[in-house]
């Protein structure tokens, strides 16, 4: 029985690693707008989010119970399948972090689970309808719902505070943003830390350590809460930069509207029975808020890359999960190979990330990346009329002023022409 406990130990550690990546991947959801608008200093923001995630992890075990009792059939699932699913999810989380794109950790986990299940018992083990109704539709709906809400809210707040004192409003929106970001962090802690607790409990049940239907043991709750809090505190600065600065430029009003919309969508969806991804809701809210200001722009090239990443999440994590399951079920050496592969890949990704470090010191510096195709296209379409009209005005200036004798400053009229 010794090899079972070792396998279980590897599964538990891998689950905690996933929890950790989940934490730093999703710091951006709660704190990106707070950091980019300057409502909180970067380090303060991640520390606050980490504490709230930890608190959230202890608040309830409802989500963990649904995962460990019922959602997956406890009889059929084996620890190897869970391990393979986690490997797929962790690698996808790390790759998307490396390129700085927000993507849903839950979808990565589902993708890994689907891939591992297919490799284990075949395509019949996966319910295609569930994939569409629980994964694909929510992925489209979440950013639309959150984006529209944030856009209308941003429009409203700009219209209302037109005549208000600038200093008072800044202070007010700062407080509002911190409160709504706190709510998002707390909700994340209760949801995502519990997912890990549920998975560890599931593995323990599958391995025969716990009786089926048990609640997560205390050490599972504590370690899952700590892992997600630590991950959150380290902060996925690359993703924070993309969400806070890359998608659009946010002012405090917009940051507040976006964060409130994200909090409302997350709470509504988890209580009304149509679960939407936190990451998708937050990204959508940020873009909606970006469009809610007059003259606000969304960088569609960055947004497109993000949407592509969302589309790839399920197949990519699934492919890795399937491969890992295929190797892992070969026996002990297979499990060790998968574990070694995971460690090696994590190290490799970390080494690559050191080439260009993004941390709390430069999180708000905008990357001067070459403009994408869409941005260039839009830029190419918009400016010419403006430039043309400026030139036309300058020409008229010349026409009207030059014939008239103006002895005072004859050099002035040609100046705009020269500037143009």
């Amino acid at each position: 029985m010794e090899h079972i406990t070792l396998l279980l130990a590897i599964v538990v550690v891998t689950a905690l690693v996933f929890d950790f990546t989940n934490g730093f991947h999703d710091t951006a959801n709660a704190m990106a707008t707070t950091i980019s608008t300057g409502a909180l200093k970067p380090k303060t923001a991640v520390a606050m989010s980490a504490v709230l995630n930890l608190v959230g992890a202890f608040l309830s075990v409802e989500v963990a119970k649904t995962i460990s009792k019922g959602l997956v059939n406890e009889e059929g699932i084996q620890p190897e399948v869970i391990l393979a699913a986690l490997v797929g999810a962790i690698l996808w989380n790390l790759v998307t972090w490396l390129v700085g794109l927000p993507s849903s950790s839950s979808h990565a986990l589902m993708g890994g689970l689907i891939g591992a299940t297919i490799a284990s018992i075949g395509v019949s083990g996966v319910n295609g309808g569930v994939v569409v109704s629980k994964v694909l539709i929510p992925a489209v709906a979440a950013p639309l719902v959150a984006g529209l809400a944030a856009m209308f809210a941003a429009r409203l707040t700009y219209r209302m505070d037109k005549n208000a004192d600038k200093k008072t409003t800044e202070k007010g929106y700062r407080a509002g943003q911190i409160a709504s970001a706190g709510l998002v962090s707390l909700a994340h802690g209760t949801n995502d830390a519990q997912k890990t607790m549920g998975i560890i409990t599931l593995a323990l049940v599958a391995g025969g350590v716990l009786a089926p239907g048990s609640n997560p043991p205390v050490w599972v709750i504590v370690s899952a809460g700590l892992a997600i809090a630590l991950g959150t505190y380290l902060g996925g600065w690359r993703i924070i930069r993309t969400m806070g600065k890359g998608l659009t430029d946010l002012q405090p009003q917009q940051g507040f509207a976006a964060q409130t919309s994200a909090a409302a969508v997350i709470l509504a969806s988890s209580n009304l029975g149509f679960s939407l991804s936190t990451t998708h809701s937050c990204s959508g809210a940020v873009m909606g808020a970006g469009l809610g200001r007059k003259g606000g722009v969304v960088r569609w090239s960055t947004a497109t890359r993000m949407f592509v990443a969302w589309g790839l999440t399920l197949p990519a994590a699934g492919l890795v999960g399937a491969g890992a399951e295929y190797v892992a079920r070969q026996g002990d050496w297979g499990v060790y190979t998968v574990a070694a592969f995971l460690v090696a890949s994590c190290l490799a990704i970390w080494v690559i990330s050191r080439r260009q470090v993004v941390d709390h010191t430069n999180v708000n510096d905008v990357e001067t990346e070459p403009a994408g195709v869409v941005t260039t296209a839009i830029a190419a379409v918009t400016p010419p009329p403006a430039a043309g009209s400026v030139a036309a005005v300058a020409d008229e200036d010349l026409k009207t002023t030059i014939p008239a004798p103006v002895p005072t400053d004859p050099a002035a009229p040609p100046a705009p022409a020269a500037a143009v």
Binding site: S60, A149, A264, A268, F274
Partner: protein, 73 residues
């Protein structure tokens, strides 16, 4: 394949109404507070604006408390 459009619709409606209402309420509070500060700067007082602002913030606080309640329960 069964998609629960009713649940999705209600999530959409509730989120939209809650977000716009909360942001509107909060902005109203901020505008009231700024009116009060402007009045104070000119030596006057705007008790109504200030009371209204605090009422708005109190309602927002209640909404946050309800949010925490939803998370915990």
């Amino acid at each position: 394949m069964k998609i629960d459009w009713a649940a999705l619709g209600s999530v959409f409606g509730v989120s939209l109404v809650a977000t716009v209402a909360l942001v509107g309420l909060f902005t109203l509070g901020i505008v009231g507070l700024s009116k009060q500060e402007q009045a104070a700067a000119q030596g006057g007082s705007a008790a109504l604006a200030r009371t209204g602002a605090y009422a708005c913030f109190a309602l927002c606080l209640a909404a946050v408390a309800y949010g925490i309640y939803l998370i915990v329960v």
